[in-house]
Amino acid sequence: MTVRYTEQPERPLAPVGEVAFHQWVFPDGTLWTQFFRQGAGYLLRFPELADFEVSADGCTVQGFPAPGVPSPTVEHLYLNQVMPLALSRQGKLVLHGSAVEIGGQGAAFLGESGRGKSTLAASFATEGTRFLTDDGLLLEWVDDRCMILPSHPSIRLWEDSQDALVGERTAMAPAVCFTSKSRFLAGPGIAFCDEARPLRRLFLLGEAQVETPTIEPLRPAEALIELVKHSFLLDIEARDMLARHFDDLSRLAALPIYYRLDYPRSYAALPAVREAVIRHALEQSESIEHEFV
């Protein structure tokens, strides 16, 4: 990763003189993140939790915990929210998604928070299929191949997912205070892939409207819209950068790799989901290889 991060001593979250140029709000109306300009750079505020100062080029981040907020919470916010945003300012492509390695290639899962992308990645990883990231899907073109870069080797899960998938086999990172998710470190019991893998499948997670796993192709235009919706973007007003970002996503959308994956959200269904995904990814890989023979 190419972001330099330092955590500073805690400080009160002082009122900011100007109006936020962007914000993230939960569906229930709770304010999650405010985006302010600060000189040439940015101030990202997570109310009652922390401030992060991001340099104009997205290469340097400083975290300031609010009084009483533990360091793991701030580190967690940095890894899952702020670092992807900083990378986007460097022109990198980061999506809200998880990814695993199947047959030496990458299969990614895009979805909003709560759609099950971390649970699905963890479900693969606890069964020996290595995961590349549980959120913050970082993509990079190398020659003509789009590669998934591995993230930090941890998976965050809600408590019910932990009980169902992980049990007591795995080392746990310190819990964070703003969510009932905990962060698990990779290790025995959770397999992690620490090398880049070519992106071969990108599954958009559906709304659990089915009784058995289904996989349906997406049109390129549908894929482009989903890629836009699931992008991390720090500065939504930097037009040149937005245009470049849209170009990058259009190039990505033209790949024949997009499918909508839907399945019932029960832990009992996960083995069938894994089997369907693995079979689909391997079939497609074989047919792609045959095209080049």
Partner: protein, 90 residues
């Protein structure tokens, strides 16, 4: 909106073509809209500053279509795009 109107495309609104469809996107608001090739042609002519009537005239040369139908389609598309803030008055 009338056929004599010209429209403008806000600077933060962009269009890209993938496959045989075009996606228009307002990256600032997150609003998006998909167009088939005919819709994409109308969008392109809007961006060149033509009035809706001039767009219809050009399209009549290029496509097998009744004028009445075409004018209704162009006006409807312009209204939908305007409603989403993807075009504005020139």
């Amino acid at each position: 909106m009338n056929l004599s109107d010209k429209v403008s495309i806000p600077t933060q609104v962009m269009a890209r073509t993938v496959g045989d469809e075009t996606v228009i996107l307002d990256l600032a608001s997150g609003t998006y809209f998909g167009l088939d090739p005919v819709g994409a042609r109308i969008w392109g002519l809007m961006g060149e500053g033509a009035t809706l009537a001039e767009i219809c005239a050009t399209m009549l040369d290029e496509y097998e279509v009744e004028r009445e139908q075409l004018e209704a389609d162009v006006l409807r598309l312009a209204a939908e795009l305007a409603e989403r803030g993807l075009i504005g008055p020139a």
